[in-house]
Symmetry: C2
Subunit: 380 residues, 2 copies
């Protein structure tokens, strides 16, 4: 069985590392000839919208999926007409436009911040006035890792922000750019739910994960999120509602702000997600294997902690991202209990080059380990 993947980065590589033991072979399409996923499968180097490359990707493939959400909609439409392609186009369309995404959340009864979609400087000013300051202005499209965002604390900053974000034009792509003005949610913490839905409609959800971002980039995750017993069911219901509405197949991640016990949807990612990397060691079947199982039409694997009741396994897991960090194999592997996942990319400031995971029997033990990593990675 062959699975084609649009994108050849670390997520694609981890999908293959999880799928190869199932006897599945992987084929990647990426414009970059040094895409790291090329180490674990065939790499087709070319544009995502080049029909010749897409045809090579789809040829004889059992299914096609993608590892990033900014895939040209046309490419997915082209593929979907020829080979089972998951997640579905509808999910990409929603995830690619922050306004459509929030509208979907609202429609499904999921709490969202006040917002306004704007396309001109005047609309931006009006939107900021309506939403109120402080507020967050983001490009509607193509934003990731905190890029294409600005916080507006005073109405006088509107022109400068419009210019800096290029009116969202940078977003380009299908449907043009534009900006979205969002209420600034003074949240207590960020959590994410990672769900998976099979071709047969079966759903499974991982324990809610607590995430820490800095500079818009995920720095660390802990699962299960502390004191999340009361939130798990709500997050699962939200995730299930989105997946069922979209006829979803594969792994879906939804990030929430938690404020006073209420989950506010921030954004979703129609793919395996950085906040689920801990599942490789921390859960019985990782998000990567489950995404592969789902798109391939196979039974889903168990999403409990490897330490779930009657299973044994770490009862808590933590993940720390390595961002622009040079590889120090001896230092990392000398850190007892750390599992290294190095992506094989050149370290550059702000670039995710790997992550480390630790499973532990207690939160105390895990926090101590994460503290050591925070210290090790502290930036001047």
């Amino acid at each position: 069985m062959v699975i084609g993947v649009l994108g050849g980065g670390q997520l694609g590589q981890m999908l293959a590392l999880a799928g190869i033991p199932l006897g599945i072979e992987f084929r990647f399409l990426d414009p970059s000839a040094d895409s790291v996923a090329g180490r674990v499968g065939e790499l087709i180097v070319g544009a995502y919208d080049d029909p010749v490359c897409l045809a090579r990707l789809a040829h004889g493939a059992h299914a096609v999926t993608f590892e990033f959400e900014n895939v040209p909609a046309g490419a997915i439409e082209w593929l979907a007409r020829r080979v089972p392609t998951f997640p579905p186009q509808a999910a990409l369309a929603a995830a690619q436009d922050r306004v459509a995404e929030k509208a979907l959340f609202a429609e499904l009864g999921i709490a969202i911040p006040r917002l306004a979609g704007v396309s001109t400087p005047d609309e931006l000013r009006a939107g900021v006035e309506r939403v109120g300051v402080p507020c967050v202005v983001k490009t509607r499209r193509m934003g990731y890792d905190g890029k294409g965002q600005a916080v507006v604390r005073d109405i006088s900053e509107v022109e400068e922000v419009w210019t800096r974000l290029g009116g969202g034009g940078s977003g380009g792509g299908d449907g043009g750019g534009g900006l979205i003005v969002e209420e600034f949610v003074a949240f207590g913490r960020e959590v994410s739910i990672i769900g998976v839905r099979g071709r047969d409609g079966a759903c499974a959800f991982y324990p809610l994960t607590q995430n820490v971002h800095r500079g818009g980039i995920l720095r660390q995750s802990i699962a299960p999120a502390p004191d999340s017993a009361g939130l798990q069911a709500t997050a699962e219901a939200y995730c299930r509602a989105v997946m069922e509405r979209l006829g979803y197949v594969g792994v879906l991640a939804i990030e929430f702000f938690e404020k006073g016990g209420v989950l506010w949807a921030n954004e979703m990612a129609p793919r395996v997600h950085n906040s689920g990397h801990w599942t490789i060691e921390g859960s019985i079947c990782s998000q990567f294997e489950n995404h592969v199982r789902a798109v391939a039409g196979l039974p889903l694997g168990e999403t409990q902690m490897a330490g779930g009741p009657g299973v044994g396994g770490g009862s808590v897991a933590g993940m720390v991202n390595l961002i622009g960090t040079p590889l120090d194999l001896i230092g990392v592997l000398g850190e007892a209990g750390s599992h290294l996942h190095w992506y094989g990319k050149e370290p550059r400031a702000g670039r995710k080059v790997g992550h480390v995971t630790r499973c532990a029997g207690s939160r105390a033990e895990l926090c101590e380990w994460m503290g050591r990593w925070e210290g090790r990675l502290a930036e001047p």
Copy 2:
């Protein structure tokens, strides 16, 4: 960092799947163009003793290792002169000749069955008389998975056995063939110890594993071996003694017969071993990652059960080999808690094509699971 591997089978593939997340790239040399390890690294197709191929394997490699013990000694000597090559030649020499292997065990005070090395029909008859019947006659070299063995229950069978085993000539290779006559140990069970030694001399050992063979092929393993508390230290001491005597680097497996609380050494394998496949999910750092760490000169990883004290994780693990079984992805993945490792080889009678692992919180739970697998794989 690049590691070269002689042999491109499933063991090589699992070494790469464990090493790629450490940022290490793999290169394999194998005479077969459809070697499965080619999916996870560069595959050089050629003879193990072809200097051109060996040069390509060694070029720029940080270290070279092998995934099977019947490597031509000349190839290892050639490589060792040019690149760090582990395990060392001395270990191969001992593992390739059952007489030398048993002599090493005896010399280190490790219990072994009575035996006799023989090279002619008359010597075989004399050897069988000296050792006594029933006894086991094996080729001195090139035996694996029960091939090249025969049980002699009556002295009258000697000629037939000599002919069937071709006087061990089939062994061919360096030093010619010959046979070994071994006392038949009416053992209670088979257990194996898997140890790893780093370039710095640091050693680590996995919990003793209980193995079941049928037709000379490993069928299933359970770790930790039941009631092995009193045997673990002895097995570790034996394994450490062998590794230190040989200046060993990498993973070493020693199989024992247990009879009345005594461990009788049966054979050793200077490589990752089938009875250690459970370590992928069952231990904190698998035998594959630890072999890679050792040969690469990196710190060793933790060998405790993933469920070791204060670590969390399954407290027991089981492994069942898939031998000549056609792939039934939906059936296997539908079996809750099973981890599949499919090697990507064509199923043939008696051929190891994959294995399944399960971690459990209790032996009862594990035995139930293994029982289901025994039933599923029962042969007519």
